[in-house]
Symmetry: C2
Subunit: 554 residues, 2 copies
């Protein structure tokens, strides 16, 4: 099932673009420029011309960046940084199947990075024909399956259709798909609902199962390796509930997994859909990991619109001019704020309740990709890699943590996301404005207030300003614009990784905790075999066992 590991030319891509971030001439230039960044609080600093010209557009999204601490000189240096690091060239090679998931000279995953191929299905020719062919084959299987559900060809043991689907997965098999489904719930097929079980917390699964008619519920179990502990544990919990209800699991359970994994077993699943090694979990929302659930919940046509929007943004990411490439520009503005102006975090603030889980998805996509300490040659980084990503939907956030963003001692760059019209269209004029207008007005007002600040004779009512933000604005949150937004951030993260010369596609940092947890669980299991064990976890036993196991003493 594995794809070929790329041509020789593609294999060498890591070496040929691996320049130390701090050795580029643009790095030095930007360092000098950062000593006197553009002053957004100066009189006239936010002129109408600046607002009009510091703006770009792709795939339905405007990116407004007048409220960043940049001028044309800084933008030129950022353009140079993009070129020196070969950001767009590497992106193109990625789309063509270069083996970018590797660390030179050390054992590493040695994989291609082909999430873009999942949606490169609209043009006659894809940049990565084999991966796109695989993606299309799975989409065709899915379309057939969904049509059979619709037509009554696939039903439960009593001949009823399915109304609910529970997605069982964790990490990338949960966050991206869940964020998309919640964002697009306004588009769902009437009478169908999707639910998610992810945490190993037994209360999580119990709370969801308690509200369901299992007889009419499909369960979609998602794990590439087919061995993710939390997912298998939750699958067993759910299978037990089906067994207790007297239902045949293989009429209800679907699998999304790697071909040949322990879960690729027709005896246990009604259908299996495949995911491939060239698609990392946190980039997998547009693969079968998200598609099966989205197809069931929203219908195949809406799923295709998501892919279409993502593909449009992937194409926009190929443009070399940073002022016409929103993902690349966003990546560079992030680097300016993080590496040159010294901010440690980035707030993602969607002014749309439907995007309630989008920030959580980006936390994974960004922090798991770029929370790294070594270069692609295995050297310790002498510069900061990825920021901490956090945020909540506005205007809720305004009534919560915005105090710190405006008046705290840390500078928090912000990325606002908004829409000109609402999804449902149920709105109300109060004092001559609609709720959607209030939402957009608040978003714009926050960007301005952060930038310009305000002097005041009462020091407690003073706003220092010069707090940078961007505004991402689209007409409406649709399947197409959601796909574009997802791909915008995926490409941004990848560009930053290229520029920092890190591998944005592995996640070795999650291994140590996993290893220690496994050792601790072995002790719990051993203890259970002895008599007198009362079934409760005591912290004494846990910590004492860790000590006894030599883990604490190293």
């Amino acid at each position: 099932m594995e794809q070929p590991a790329g041509t020789g030319e593609q294999r060498d891509v890591v070496s040929c673009f691996s320049r130390d971030f701090n050795k580029m001439t643009a790095f030095e230039e930007l360092g000098a420029l950062a000593r006197a960044p553009y002053d957004l609080t100066a009189s006239g600093a936010l002129s109408p011309e600046r607002i009009r010209s510091y703006r770009t557009h792709a795939a339905g999204f405007d990116l407004l960046y007048a409220t960043q601490r940049v001028d044309d000189t800084v933008l030129a240096a950022l353009q140079k940084l993009a070129e020196e690091s070969g950001a767009v060239s590497q992106f193109m090679l990625m789309k063509k199947g270069a083996v970018l998931n590797r660390i030179e000279g050390y054992p590493s995953e040695e994989r291609q990075v082909l999430h873009t191929a999942c949606r490169d299905i609209f043009a006659p020719d894809s940049l990565a024909p084999e991966a796109t062919g695989q993606a299309k084959a799975e989409l065709d299987k899915l379309a057939d399956f969904l049509a059979a559900l619709e037509a009554g060809g696939i039903v439960n043991g009593a001949g009823d259709s399915f109304t609910d689907l529970v997605q069982v997965g964790i990490g990338g098999s949960d966050l991206g798909p869940r964020a998309l489904y919640l964002a697009l719930a306004a588009y769902k097929i009437p009478g169908r609902r999707v639910h998610f079980i992810s945490n190993v917390d037994p209360d999580d699964a119990a709370a969801i199962l308690n509200g369901l008619d299992l007889a009419r519920t499909l369960v979609n179990v998602v794990s590439k390796s087919g061995s993710t502990l939390e997912t298998l544990t939750n699958e067993e919990l759910v299978r037990k509930a089906f067994a207790e209800a007297g239902l045949e699991p293989n009429r209800h359970f679907l699998a999304v997994t790697g071909k040949g994994s322990p879960m690729d077993n027709p005896a246990r699943y009604l259908r299996s859909f495949y995911m491939f090694d060239s698609i990392g979990g946190r980039y997998s929302a547009t693969s079968m990991v998200g598609a099966v659930m989205l197809g069931f919940g929203l219908g195949y046509a809406h799923l295709e619109e998501i892919l279409r929007g993502a593909n449009a943004m992937d194409l926009a990411a190929e443009v070399p001019d940073i002022r016409r490439n929103p993902p690349l520009l966003l990546a560079l503005l992030g680097i300016w704020n993080h590496n040159f102006l010294g901010s440690e975090t980035l707030a993602i603030l969607p002014y749309s309740q439907a995007l309630v889980r989008f920030t959580a998805h980006l936390q994974q996509c960004d922090m798991e990709s770029n929370g790294k300490s070594v270069t692609r040659q295995g050297k310790s980084l002498a510069w900061k890699s990825g920021p901490i990503i956090w945020g909540e939907p506005g205007t809720n956030g305004q009534h919560a943590f915005y105090q710190l963003i405006h008046q705290g001692t840390a500078i928090v760059p912000a990325e606002f996301i908004g829409f000109r019209a609402s999804q449902y269209g149920q709105d109300l004029l109060i004092e001559q404005t609609t709720s959607q207008e209030k939402l957009v007005a608040n978003l714009l007002a926050q960007a301005l207030a952060l930038a310009t600040g305000q002097p005041h004779e009462n020091p407690n009512r003073c706003f220092a300003g010069n707090r940078p933000s961007v505004v991402l604005l689209a007409d409406r949150l649709t399947p197409y614009s959601m796909g574009a937004l997802l791909a915008l951030y995926e490409a941004k993260v990848v560009f930053q990784g290229f520029i920092w010369n890190i591998n944005s596609f592995d996640q070795e940092g999650v291994q140590l905790g996993k290893k220690l947890a496994t050792r601790l669980l072995a002790h719990y299991a051993g203890r259970r075999k002895n008599s007198g064990y009362n079934g409760e976890v005591s912290d004494d036993s846990g910590w004492a066992l860790l000590v006894a196991a030599g883990i604490l003493a190293k």
Copy 2:
């Protein structure tokens, strides 16, 4: 309705404890100690004795802090910092009604801070008898109301009982109450459900109302001032839905508001419950702001248990010895990591899906309180105030952003929260361990992995360690322990504010954005009065209007 502004002695509390953080002798000592903090990666650094002795307990929670970069010398200096800043003395004066919400010499809110009085109802004598008396009076009103609902004395127009309640509020009227309800959903009264509408996003309200039988739904509108724009907008949206369903709003709508506010109007509400100026929004979850909804959803007895747990932690916060006072110790460890070891953020990581919104509540409680730039004398801070708070429940987080926590270039101190037994008790043995054991094992393993790290010949599999964390562990997530956890963090935040010499009880930083939004909305409204307006918000109009209004040009 206002409480007296405190005695003369209490009024002077701000002056008498206002020492600059960086002028205390402990500040200098800690600065010197921070040059060589305790090395958690050294052989034997995490000895069983250390784990046993770096542990304290209150109100059902263990606080384990062996995995912090502290030793007895640092703890002694932190004890001194607590004493020099008068942290516990100020806490006692706060509980007695001192006017701590003020900035000396400048117009400010000039209020008492008496959220602790809401739960100081169990001992014969309260420290703040008047505030406690008010709290008790409201609780009695609530108990009567809930009993009448139960007994059928209060019903809808058709004589049916109420099954659902929608809480309409934002910020503190939403985050804390919602976090508590979700945490304790396992304890809810069968057949009753609570829902929340907070964002001004019209899609949010529409999605919730679409799923409800309005005839059997109560609506609890919460706004201290009775003039919160988002809340009034949402209330109108909901009232419109009731009117369209032919229902009488004043049989369904409840108000929680300040006495005498525009919302204190018996003609429009079935019942009004009062909140008082001495309780800030972000500290109001145990006042009527949370109590009405919790009483309806969980029953009065469970509500009382929440208050009992909170009160127990408030009492623990009075202990002068930092090693026997979990909230104070947590505050000081936070200051050690933030001000002396240089971390900008703090991750709150509950290993319980039920705590899914607790971190969002803490974001408000902490960041709105301590995201400040001036002292209580109005001087610019020469030291960092509150950190950025973020996090998600584990083990989900492990599959998302933990990569950065383990191997990123920023150090992220973490606070893990866990429970020895599950809430529902539906658990399953897989490979001889339960899901709850897996949860606890993962939590402990993460704390250890972050602390000790791991050398490796592959630099990409190396873990530097020395990443500090604490573990908060209780037997089970119950109403009592939830109350205790809430109060633990409230007290922690207040202690940090006292030590940094900032006013943790105002929120001037939210005003500028509000003001600019109001001005922008005035333009939208004006535009609507002209002909040809099509109802859609265009960013052009928005930004151009801002320019025309002179806001951009300052």
